[in-house]
Amino acid sequence: MSLLGTKVVRTEDLRLITSGGVYVDDLREPMLAGAAHAVFVRSVVAHARIGSVDVSAASKAPGVVGVFTAADLDLAPASDEPTAEPWLAGDVVRYVGEPIALVLTEERYQLADAAELVDVDYDPLPAVIGFDSALAGDPLLFAGTDSNVFRTNGAPLDESTFRDYEVVVTCRTVNQRVAPSPMEARGASCVWGADGRLVMWLSTQNAQIARTTLAKRLDVDPALVRVVTPDVGGGFGAKIGAHPEAVVLAWAARRTGRAVRWMESRSENLTAMTHGRGQRQTVTVAGRRDGTVAALRLDIEQDLGAYPRAPHLPGLTEMMASGVYRVPRVETSAVMVLTNTVPIAAYRGAGRPEAAAAVERAMDVFAAEIGMDPVEVRKRNFIRPQEFPYRTPNGTEYDTGEYEAALDRALAAADYSALRAEQARRRAAGDVVALGIGISTYVEITGDGSGESGRVDVNRDGSVTAYTGSSPHGQGIATTLAMLLSDRLGIPMARITVRHGDTDEVPKGIGTFGSRSLQLGGSAIRLAADQVIERARILAADLLEASPTDVELDVDRGVWQVRGAASAGSVAWQQIAEREPLSEDVWFGDGASTFPFGAHIAVVDVDTATGKVVLRRMIAADDAGPVLNPVAFRGQRHGGLAQGVAQAMLEEVGYDTDGNPVTATLADYSFITATELPDFELVESVTPTTRNLLGVKGIGEAATIGSTPAVQNAVVDALAHLGVRHVDMPTTPMRVWRAINEAGGAIG
């Protein structure tokens, strides 16, 4: 029987639950013995000219190995654009948390004492906070530019073209800035060996990309850089590649000739690691009173933060603007602005949650306008199964989808009609606690065309070692790849080891982000395994004294035999590998983006007297094609749901008008906890893709994308009878209470 599709507990877990694994701060590598500890001195002002940075007192503090500022660095600028991000800020600081100096000390506890003595003379400038301030353009963040608008996509709306529709609704939404906040903050340790090679242990989602960045920035041959990812405590898109801090640490290790260790604090993580989302959106939906949508326009304002690290994100939002709907006319635009805040970059979903939030909110507004059930409006506009592959008017090529079937499964699990009846009963009774039912039907993009590496070795003892360019940090991909290999080769999982995240072992690779690991990394491993099988077939035939076309692999027994003559004897993998060790190293480059989809239903209680929202139920149908390990698949959905709900209900990074962060600790940032979530109700749906060897799509981000608008829609739905048409996220008690009062007041 095939292992695939059965529940397999993870091979990763035993170390983690007994010894706590080895994350970057846990390393006790001999090469790091006697390492200096590092801390960055970060700006406490959002926008200022730096008069001077006086390190004289800090340099004399106990245990100080070195204090370095921009004046000491001899690294080439990251780019020659006026908006280039400095390695350490020298002339101007542009956000609270921007690194200004690096302090190295002998002991960890000496760091804070010494860092406090670095005296930075700030000459404050007005802070640019928020879209309107950025668009006003005074002051400018960067000399040599004439605007705080970094880039625009598309053309502005021509309102005259939206006049001839029966119904036109416009919805303005805020997709607020949130903190990725992996439980392990950022960390790195590094040392230059006597051989002139840099070894960096880095908490990253992609060792190979980090190596390329480090080599380029440090101006050394990539062969002289080895990046190793130890256990990584979550990334969520915010640990892609090597951040500027890693480059500065490697430089400092070279300058001092010392090993260096760095582990940021949580406050640093919340104020200096990239944030996610940060859009303001205007969605215009036009159509007919029968529920048909004829046109959709999405105008995005994207807050890039102080430096344009991820100006590609609104493009992803634009690609997915029309979601699961067949809309004849789709238009988008984006205006990207620079503000005195932490740079925005990828966060679980990266551009697609913003698209789903916009279109799903707008569909509800459209449904309310024409007095139609939101389920019915969606069903009238879904792209039909027979229309795939489907090209949206703005050029996105969807692979496969069964949107209505997924929604029907979720509705059945939720008992939708009973929920509507309960809602009507409460409204009729004047219940102060209103019931809200929120629908979201989503599609998103996962994977990409850039491919992934995979290598499969059958060792002399018949065991298997596989090497993947994927870089798991919680996803359990090592288990899933071992399942895949065991199924293909007939070798027990216990004899299969999956290696990843060390550029010496896996020189080529892209890594883990964009829900790409199984579809690309898995396809690469499958391809390598198939090549191993073809090589083994020739060797087995020789051993069996048969023709290669006459031998077969019996995967149940894990042996090679002559087809139809099993009793005539067999050859084990070990015998073949003793003859000739097998190793196949491939690059799976044939993949293309895939489009997982689903339907989420949120059920909330809203206390109309206090504005307090309680999520009662979360029903999720997520379709990412065939499931290899339901354990990991369901786990990814659970985590995605929680992060999506967190954005809808709780989490928001805040800055005051001077650019001071007001959510700089976990005591202030409303990181979602166990008490704010219900047990999740998962509904299964399986629609394969044709775009990779496994037929799978990515599941890492899907549930985050679907759940956010479901919850937001549920909150608005609960208040619809009070005249509320929209509530921005997060739907905090204050915001909900205000919306109720602005609409005319609470019940009772």
Binding site: M183, G474, A674, L677, D679
Partner: protein
């Protein structure tokens, strides 16, 4: 000089007055299973048992643990066998990246000592001070229910 019994073994070390228990465990004793996840006692990654009761070891000075007994995740299993809570976390996929897991497991052990048959809602309440970014808590709750010997609903 502090003398602290860690996982049944007596440790005695001279450490600076301001040394936190979590750093004593990690840097002085060399047990890195206990993690530091925040700086405001909010996340619970550093949870250990102090004389059998769960504490956040980032908020306890090593000096405060002088003469007392500490249990960390490394000291849970007996004779190489998994503790029932460890076994249940693995069985129920109660961990993904694993960083919150040692603290989560220690908090769960403490919870089950106080409340051997908790409901799912009680588990959620008891673990409110332990943050996880990966699992959405669903399978963590299932793991604690499993460890308590109660059936786990799918």
């Amino acid at each position: 000089m502090v003398t602290i019994r860690v996982n049944g073994r007596t440790t005695a070390n001279a450490v600076p007055d301001r040394t936190l228990l979590v750093h004593y465990l990690r840097d002085t004793v060399g047990l890195t299973g206990t993690k530091v996840g925040c700086d405001t006692s909010s996340c619970g990654a550093c949870t250990v048992l102090l004389d059998g009761e769960s504490v956040k070891s980032c908020t306890v000075l090593a000096a405060q643990a002088d003469g007392r007994a500490v249990t960390t995740v490394e000291g849970l299993g007996a004779d190489g066998a998994l503790h029932p809570v460890q076994r249940a976390f693995r069985q129920q996929h109660g961990l993904q990246c694993g960083f919150c897991t040692p603290g989560m497991i220690m908090a769960a052990v403490s919870l089950l000592r106080e409340n051997p048959k908790p409901t799912r809602a009680e588990v959620r309440q008891a673990l409110e001070g332990n943050l996880c970014r990966c699992t959405g808590y669903h399978n963590i709750v299932s793991a604690v229910i499993d460890a308590s010997g109660q059936p786990v609903a799918e």
